[in-house]
């Protein structure tokens, strides 16, 4: 039995090497591009808006060995530990949604594709014929014969960086995907179906400077913790409750000489939303310009990415921002736009907080769609 377990461990540790990796990017070939010609763009309406990322503690594995009691203890500890970070991230995403509602984000992305449609219609096999939007909550079906644009917006754990990631795909059974890669034996099933074209574009905003902890900043931090601890009626948590324990833990952390990422996020989030979200709006528009321009470029490019090549510097902007085409790994062929001088490390946690107003909007969309589905 023991050998069986160890063998399984060995097998699992080596399993990743057994499957041949395939690039996520799917380029078009010349015949496919010619068959596509002028093609509509469909922007998938984003519903999450700018989400705030944070790191949720999960100790369930540690407690699993101690049965039900262990599970209950770790679940309670996690609830206390995650309570404040979750509330804090929710507050940031709520504040951001006030200045940057999701409808405005979606309109901005569609507008950049419209501008690209007008500006770059010559010399390319594939051009954009029209730009539409689709709400996937109500029409989740795959879109045929249109370039689908699906964007995701997230603030880093310390709110120093906005990252916009967009997946572009084109699906058309009449122009099927033909894998350009050579496999030993039969191609994996994943290479036999799916979109004819697919790629990912990532935009990393400029990095906001991390605030230095001063006595004044510490006082503001403590005030913020007290403010966040209040319930819906404005009451402070009662001693002995989990909410009180969570607040106490946060206050203890605030007294030390280091700012956690969550604490930094409290202050940097305000930089994004001041002046009615001017900075956020500018970065989102920059991201959309980059994505619209490079989507057209890449759709008209037939080069097959390599898993073991090198990154290519495609563009250097006057402010030092670079656009690179990744040259190795499964994300090979994807495009990344990055600011010039990055000095601090960015993390995106393992959890996203979506603004309450956006959650309500999604519920309303689903509710509105329900009667029409029933009536069919």
């Amino acid at each position: 039995m023991r050998n069986l377990v160890i063998s399984a461990l060995v097998a699992s540790s080596l399993a990743a090497c057994a499957t041949a990796p395939v690039p996520n990017m799917r380029p078009l070939n010349a015949e496919q591009a010619a068959a596509m010609g002028p093609t509509p763009i469909v922007v998938v309406e984003d519903n999450n808006g700018v989400a705030k990322t944070w790191f949720a503690q999960d100790s369930s594995a540690a407690g699993a060995g101690y049965g039900l009691i262990g599970a209950l203890v770790t679940a309670t500890m996690d609830a206390i530990m995650n309570s404040f970070p979750a509330r804090r991230a929710g507050k940031v995403s709520d504040e951001i949604a006030e200045v940057m509602p999701v409808d405005e984000i979606n309109a901005s992305l569609a507008e950049q594709f419209r501008l690209q449609m007008a500006a770059a219609s010559s010399g390319n096999t594939i051009v954009f014929s029209e730009v539409n939007t689709v709400q996937k909550l109500t029409t989740p079906q795959p879109i045929n014969d249109a370039v689908e644009i699906d964007a995701d917006y997230r603030l880093s754990e310390d709110a120093s960086t906005l990252q916009v990631t967009v997946t572009i795909s084109y699906l058309n059974p009449a122009i099927p995907y033909v894998t350009p890669y050579v496999f030993e034996g039969a191609p994996p099933k994943s290479e036999l179906s799916g979109p004819t074209y697919r790629n990912t574009f990532t935009y990393n905003s400029r990095q906001l400077p991390i605030p230095v902890l001063t006595p004044d900043l510490r006082e503001r931090l403590i005030a913020s913790i007290h403010e966040s601890a209040r319930d819906e009626n404005g009451a402070m948590p009662v001693e002995g409750t989990d909410a009180f324990k969570a607040m106490t833990k946060e206050l203890e952390q605030a007294q030390d000489d280091e700012l956690t990422k969550g604490e930094i996020g409290i202050f940097l989030a305000r930089e994004w939303i001041k002046d009615n979200g001017a900075l956020l709006r500018a970065e989102i528009e920059n991201a959309h310009v980059f994505i619209a321009r490079y989507t057209l470029l890449d759709l008209n490019r037939t080069a097959v990415p390599s898993l073991t090549g090198q990154d290519e510097l495609v563009e250097t902007l006057p402010d030092g921002r670079t656009v690179r085409r990744i040259g190795a790994g499964t994300i090979t062929g994807s495009y990344v736009s990055s600011p010039a001088e990055v000095v601090g490390f960015t993390t995106y946690g393992n959890t996203m907080s979506i603004a309450r107003v956006h959650q309500d909007r999604m519920t309303a969309i689903r509710e509105a769609a329900r009667p029409s589905r029933r009536s069919r």
């Binding site: 023991r2 050998n3 160890i6 063998s7 461990l9 060995v10 540790s13 080596l14 790191f55 949720a56 503690q57 999960d58 100790s59 369930s60 594995a61 950049q112 501008l115 690209q116 007008a118 500006a119 770059a120 990393n204 310009v289 619209a292 321009r293 490079y294 057209l296 470029l297 090198q310 990154d311 290519e312 510097l313 495609v314 563009e315 250097t316 902007l317 006057p318 030092g320 670079t322 656009v323 690179r324 990344v336 990055s338 600011p339 010039a340 001088e341 990055v342 000095v343 601090g344 490390f345 960015t346 993390t347 995106y348 946690g349 393992n350």
Partner: protein
């Protein structure tokens, strides 16, 4: 092979697969003779520079190693540096949660004797929308 020897072998192999390659060898090339997981890696770029990548378990040495390798590649005569990536990706467990991963720094370095990227678009940037 005895059962004990087989078990010991399997345990050693499992250990190698699970964590044997994570030993910190200090300032070394990733891979290299030590098969190092942590360290630096650099490749020449098409425009005459170098891409330098560093993976470290701590942020301070990650930045310091990047700088050190940049200086080495240029013999101390660096013309331009662009650190475009400094991330600490979250490592997700298979079925639950995750943990902060290693520190990754990546950027380009151009030496005084090498061509540096122009301030404007270089390789094949598409036209900007007006």
């Amino acid at each position: 092979m005895s059962r004990v020897a087989r078990t010991a072998g399997l345990i050693a192999l499992a250990g190698l697969g699970a964590g044997g390659c994570m030993t910190d060898h200090g300032y070394v090339m990733i891979g290299g003779p030590e098969k190092a997981y942590y360290g630096y890696l650099d490749t020449p770029t098409a425009d005459g520079g170098h891409t330098v990548r560093v993976i470290r378990p701590d942020p301070d040495t990650a930045m310091a190693y990047w700088e050190r390798r940049a200086q080495e590649l240029c013999g101390g005569k660096v013309k331009r540096k662009i650190i475009h990536t400094a991330v600490r990706p979250t490592v997700l467990y298979e079925h639950y949660g995750g943990r902060p991963g290693d520190f990754n720094v990546e950027g380009m370095v151009y030496c005084e004797s090498e061509a540096a990227p122009a301030a404007e678009a270089v390789v094949e940037a598409p036209p900007a929308a007006s």
